[in-house]
Symmetry: D2
Subunit: 154 residues, 4 copies
C-alpha cells in the first residue's frame, strides 16, 4: 500500500513537489518544538502551494505546515488538491502527517496522494485514504446533520 | 478488520461502555453544529470516564466528546486507556472519530479498541491502529527531536 | 482594575479555589513544554471543577488547564461559572490565560472573576471583561449570523 | 481608546488595507457557519497579506481569516506586522477578533493596530494591547520556562 523510493526516481513534477516541501522548511517558525516542517500541495492546474509550521507560546495554536499550505491555497480560490509532499526534520524515520492535518486535507480530497520526504532524499508514497480511513469528510458523508442546513459540494 | 454487531451481543462491560457513551450525549453543548456526541473511555482499572462535545462561537475552539473524556481522565491521573465508545447523532451511518481525536487518543494508546455506537443500537468495532496508521505518537516514535529534550515514557 | 494580594487574605472559599488550582497542576501532562498549569472553576452552587493542561506530540492539540476544567464541568451539566483560579509555573510574574482560554471562558460568562495564582502564594485578581474586552461571545452578540439558525440562551 | 470612522476618512494606505480585507472574504470556505470573514495584514515594507476563514467538518479545525493571513506571511519569511484589517459578515455591530486570533497576532506584535471593518464601510480602530492585555506572548514574557530552552527573539 505504500512504497519507498529515492526522490530522483520520481516523475519530474513530483520531484519538484518534494523539493519544494524541503525548501518550505526554511521559513518554519518553531521556537518551541525546534522541529521544522515544510509541505507543498499540488493543484489540478499544475501549480504548487507551500507552507511551513507556525507555532505559538500557547501550544494549542500551532498550525502545521500542511494546514498552512491548505489555507494559503483556499485563500486564493483553490480548493482541490491532487497530492501533498511533506518534509519533516527526520533522518531515519518516515512520519505521516498528524491527525489534525489528515482531517484538514480530507475536507478537500480524502484520496490525495501523500509523499513523505526525508532529509536524506528518500520518499515514502502513500495515500490519505490509507492514513485516514473512514474520514469524517463532506466528500464522504452527508453532513446535513450539521445544523440542519449544511450543503457542501461533493 | 472491523465488525458490526448489536450492542446486546457485546460483553456486558462493553455494553455498559457503549450505553455510557449514549448517555454522555445529554450534556453536549453544541448550539452551532446541533450535533450531539458522547464518548466514554474504559480505563485499565475498569472505571469509565465520559465526555461530550463542547463548542464555541469561534468554531476552532470546539472540543469533541472524545477529547473531553481524555482530558477529564488525565486530570485525575489516568493516562492509559483500553478502549473508547463513541456515540454520534447518526442513524444509518457509522462515523469514525475526527482526525483531531484520533491523534489525541494515539498520544496515550495507539492500539486502543474503538466502538462506534449508533443511536439504533448497532455498534461497529474497530481499532485506532486501523483508523490512524503510522500515528505521530510518542508511543511509536522517538520524539527526542522535539526541542531536543522531550522524554515521554513508552 | 486588577489587584495583587496574598492568598491568605482572600475569602476562605476563594482561598480553597486558589489552592485547588495549585493542586490541579499535579496531573499535568506536559512532556513537551514542561510547563505545568492547573485551573479550578467555581460554580454557582459552590462546587469546584479542576483541570490541568494536556499536551500532544502535535502541539496544536494541546488543551490548557482552563479548557480542561470547562469541558469537565460542561460534561456534568454545569455551564455557568462565577470565577476561575489559574496556577502556572511562574515564580515572579503573573500570566493571564492564553487567548484560546479567554475565548472559551467567555462563551459561558464574559464577566467571570479571574484569580491568577503564583507558586509563592501571591494572587492577582482580575476579570475576563478586562482580559477579553469586546468578546466574540453569544452572551454579547446576536449570533444568528452563524448558519442562520443558531440560538444560544443568554 | 477606540474610534469609529468612515473608511474614506482613513489614510489611503489604510483604506487599501481595509478594502483588501473586504475582498478577501470572497474565497472564504465556510459551509458550516456560513459566516464569511476576510483579514489583511500590513507588513513593515508596505506589502499586504490577505486571508479568509477555512472551516472543517470537525469544527475544531476551523482556521480564522486572521490566522490564515498570519501563516501565509510567515511562510514567506515575514514575521512582523504593523496592523491588521478584519472584515466580518456584520452590518450593525463591530466584532473583535476571537481569542485564538488575538493570541496568534500577539505572538508577533502585541501592539498591532487593528481595523474592524463593517460591510457598510464603517471602521473601528483599536489596538491589540487593548483587546488582549497581559498577553501570553514571547514579546512580553521570558518564555524560558517552556521546556527550559526556548529562545524567541524579542
Ligand atoms: Zn499536522
Ligand atoms: Zn473529534
Ligand atoms: Zn490557554
Ligand atoms: Zn479567530
Amino acid at each position: 500500500m505504500t512504497q519507498v523510493t529515492k526522490i530522483d526516481n520520481l516523475d519530474p513534477k513530483i520531484q519538484a513537489l518534494c523539493r519544494s516541501s524541503l525548501s518550505a522548511r526554511e521559513h518554519s517558525y518553531s521556537p518551541y518544538s525546534k522541529f521544522k516542517v515544510g509541505a507543498t500541495l499540488q493543484c489540478p492546474d499544475g501549480s504548487m502551494v507551500s507552507g511551513c509550521n507556525v507555532e505559538n507560546a500557547s501550544y494549542g495554536l500551532a498550525i502545521c505546515a500542511e494546514r498552512t499550505a491548505v489555507v494559503k491555497a483556499v485563500s486564493t480560490g483553490v480548493t482541490d488538491f491532487l497530492s501533498v509532499a511533506i518534509a519533516a526534520d527526520l533522518k531515519t524515520e518516515f512520519v505521516g502527517p498528524c491527525g489534525m492535518c489528515r482531517q484538514t486535507l480530507a475536507e478537500f480530497n480524502p484520496d490525495m496522494t501523500i509523499y513523505l520526504v526525508r532529509l536524506d532524499g528518500m520518499v515514502q508514497v502513500t495515500n490519505l485514504n490509507i492514513l485516514l480511513p473512514g474520514a469524517f469528510s463532506p466528500k464522504r458523508l452527508t453532513l446535513e446533520f450539521h445544523n440542519g442546513n449544511t450543503k457542501v459540494e461533493k
